[in-house]
């Protein structure tokens, strides 16, 4: 009986020790997100469920806010993970980084507690400062906004100082600019105005510019690093691709914001500008798939971390289909007129956030665990390898099932409520009561349950993977040799 491999932080560098803290909270918050997603989905099927106790709006708010926060934690963790290796210098400001981590986590708990216990406030500006801002995704009260920006800036300082002590690689340079943009854009949503059109104009700057510009660039950096780590792709190749991807991403995505300016009171020219540029947005996502698949092919898919590689490939395809294809299908104004604010949006929203972001953060969890367990073997015949495979199947199939349920419901809704009924109150319920819609909501719940099971297995796997492995990590050379 050999001794079990422990999770030993002596295996990690300074930044990585901090990274695994962020990863732990991220994983827990994913659990919160799923729980509240399921509760919200139940209410579509059983309307009186928790009615008047934790209303749909509250469940949904916790659901999507938990998502934003766990993903931001996942990104911060991933950057701290790569930092020392990329910069070639020890992380600067770790003490501050640790303090910020605990403050950030505590603030999240306070915000959620207020959401659940206080829920709503009087119709005054103070409510926005202390309870909720009441705007989708940015529901967090203003004090928390300020906190988030402070956390992001401190984080930026640590990253920038570390790079400037070591060397600024291509990935590093892109990352630094991206972090500035990320924090800067968030501040644009931090004001109140009576003018609803103005309000939504700037609100979309935050939402769209985060998920379709700065977050995409963030995952571009993570992918570049991930491919070097897992497949052993050369730095020159990943850096060149990264520039190409960022070029296409910003080239299309910045003006692509216009696809949110069709119907909110903004001028008509946005119909053409938004339609045209957003229709180009899938191009960088195609490039990312080509990049990942090509590199995997060159290395005959031989890699030293099978679960991470699996999730990186899931990311490439999920990003392409979820954001690219499912975004494209409703991005032209001629279609969006009928799909805007229907289950189509929900279907795309799930596919894109899961496909583009959840997947790659999970890949980083596996990259981290491999090292945390002392550079353990994670290639073929991995002990207990069924767990990561099955959790991946349950999560992916569960998500695809939910997406299809929502898409079918969305089809019914855009025809019945929008095209025929003209989006009146009666038309809304004519669609919601239609069997096709109702079935879609049941499928979402069923597949959501499967997704939750996949999550449970994922947690179990992350806690145990590599524990009983005796073999050390496979080197890229060995993997390559085996491929011959």
């Amino acid at each position: 009986m050999t001794a079990l491999r422990a999770l030993d932080s002596a295996n990690l560098n300074g930044g990585q020790k901090l990274a695994v803290k962020y990863f732990t909270v991220a994983l827990a918050l994913l659990g919160v997100q799923i729980t509240f997603g399921l509760l919200a989905a139940v209410q579509f099927v059983m309307p009186d469920f928790l009615f008047g106790v934790v209303d749909f709006s509250i469940k949904r708010m916790v659901h999507i806010n938990a998502m934003i926060v766990w993903m931001v934690f996942g990104f911060i963790g991933s950057v701290y993970w790569m930092l020392e290796e990329e910069a070639g210098a020890p992380t600067v400001g770790l003490k501050l980084g640790n303090i910020i981590f605990y403050v950030f986590t505590a603030a999240v708990l306070v915000v959620v507690a207020v959401y659940l216990l206080v829920q709503t406030g009087p119709g005054e500006i103070e409510t926005q400062w202390f309870i909720t801002e009441g705007r989708e995704y940015t529901e967090a009260p203003r004090w928390a906004d300020i906190g988030i920006v402070v956390c992001l800036l401190t984080f930026f300082y640590n990253v920038a100082a570390t790079f400037s002590k070591g060397k600024v690689t291509g990935i590093g340079g892109v990352l630094l600019l991206d972090l500035v943009a990320l924090a800067g854009i968030y501040t644009l949503g931090m004001f109140y105005t009576t003018n609803l059109t103005m309000d939504q104009y700037w609100w979309w700057w935050v939402i769209h510019m985060w998920v379709e510009a700065t977050w995409e660039v963030m995952v571009g950096c993570m992918m570049a690093y991930g491919l070097m780590k897992v497949l052993g792709t050369s730095r020159k190749i990943v850096t060149t691709w990264l520039y190409l991807e960022v070029f296409m991403m910003f080239g299309s995505g910045i003006l692509g914001i216009g696809h949110h300016y069709f119907w909110i009171g903004t001028p008509q020219y946005w119909l053409s500008i938004g339609g045209f540029f957003s229709a180009l947005e899938p191009l960088p996502l195609v490039a990312m798939v080509v990049h990942a698949v090509y590199d995997a092919g060159v290395h005959k898919s031989r890699n030293n971390n099978h679960p991470a590689m699996g999730w990186l490939i899931a990311h490439a395809f999920g990003n392409f289909f979820g954001a690219g294809v499912f975004g494209f299908i409703h991005t032209l104004p001629q279609i969006n007129l009928y799909t805007h604010g229907t289950q189509w949006s929900a279907s795309h929203g799930h596919f894109a956030f899961y496909g583009a972001y959840a997947t790659i953060i999970i890949a980083f969890f596996y990259i981290a665990l491999q090292k945390w367990r002392g550079d353990v073997w994670m290639s073929g015949n991995l002990f207990g390898g069924w767990k990561w495979k099955w959790s991946m199947v349950l999560l992916n199939v569960g998500m695809l099932g939910m997406i299809m349920g929502m898409l079918v419901a969305g089809f019914a809704q855009s025809q019945i409520e929008r095209a025929i009924g003209g989006a009146t109150w009666t038309a809304f319920f004519a669609a919601q009561e239609h069997p096709w819609f109702v079935q879609g909501m049941h499928w979402r719940l069923a597949f959501g349950t499967m997704f939750a099971a996949g999550y449970a297995l994922l947690v179990w796997d992350l806690l145990t993977i590599g524990k009983r492995e005796t073999r050390p990590v496979q080197s890229h050379d060995d993997a390559a040799l085996e491929a011959k």
């Binding site: 209303d55 749909f56 709006s57 119709g123 609803l196 903004t266 319920f429």
Partner: protein
């Protein structure tokens, strides 16, 4: 271009780096330009986003043949709750309504201008919804509904709006905000909407 002569330009790191920087800068500047223009066009009191005092008038939503889209029409004087307001009073009332809708998080059940959640009807044209019956009863029905909607169910699914503790003053303000919202020119969204009959 390429630092190294043997290197193909399209495979060169520096080439793509420069392309990225220039493209990003140009796109960003174009967006800033468009934003400045949009800001000037969406000021309250302009053509697209009417003044708050529009709530003193009848609002309709009619087909504009030249635009091939329905557009809001501000009609005859028809003050909300029978009381004509000054511009300042109207602004204060609409503002209170908007603050209330933030505070109660209406947007995490409803969509507003099509953005938000998909659990309950879009509120962009709620003021004009035919379900309110007639012009005469609409205002009071809306106030009563928003204050206590739990026992007023309008669908066979049993999906209800909860009591969110909206006060009487807040409910009046919310109705003013919804009325004002229906005056915004949304380029024809929602399409094919049949407004309440306001002629009699």
């Amino acid at each position: 271009m390429a630092a190294n002569d043997n290197e193909l330009w399209w495979a060169s790191e520096t080439f793509w780096k420069k392309t990225t920087i220039w493209t990003t800068a140009v796109m960003f500047l174009v967006l800033v330009g468009l934003t400045l223009d949009t800001m000037s066009q969406i000021q309250v009191g302009g053509k697209r986003v009417p003044a708050y005092s529009a709530i003193n008038h009848r609002i309709d939503y009619k087909m504009d043949e030249s635009r091939h889209a329905q557009v809001p029409v501000i009609g005859i004087e028809e003050p909300l709750f029978g009381k004509k307001l000054t511009e300042q009073e109207a602004e204060a009332l609409v503002d209170h309504g908007k603050l209330t809708m933030h505070a109660k998080n209406c947007m995490d059940c409803h969509t507003i201008l099509g953005n938000g959640a998909y659990y309950a009807p879009d509120l962009t044209k709620a003021w004009l919804d035919p379900y309110w019956g007639s012009r005469g009863v609409r205002e009071e029905l809306m106030v009563a509904f928003i204050k206590d909607p739990t026992d007023k169910i309008h669908n066979s699914l049993g999906r209800r709006m909860p009591n969110l503790g909206v006060t009487d003053t807040e409910a009046h303000a919310v109705v003013a905000y919804l009325k004002w919202m229906s005056t915004i020119d949304t380029n024809g969204f929602p399409n094919n909407f049949k407004p309440i009959d306001q002629e009699n």
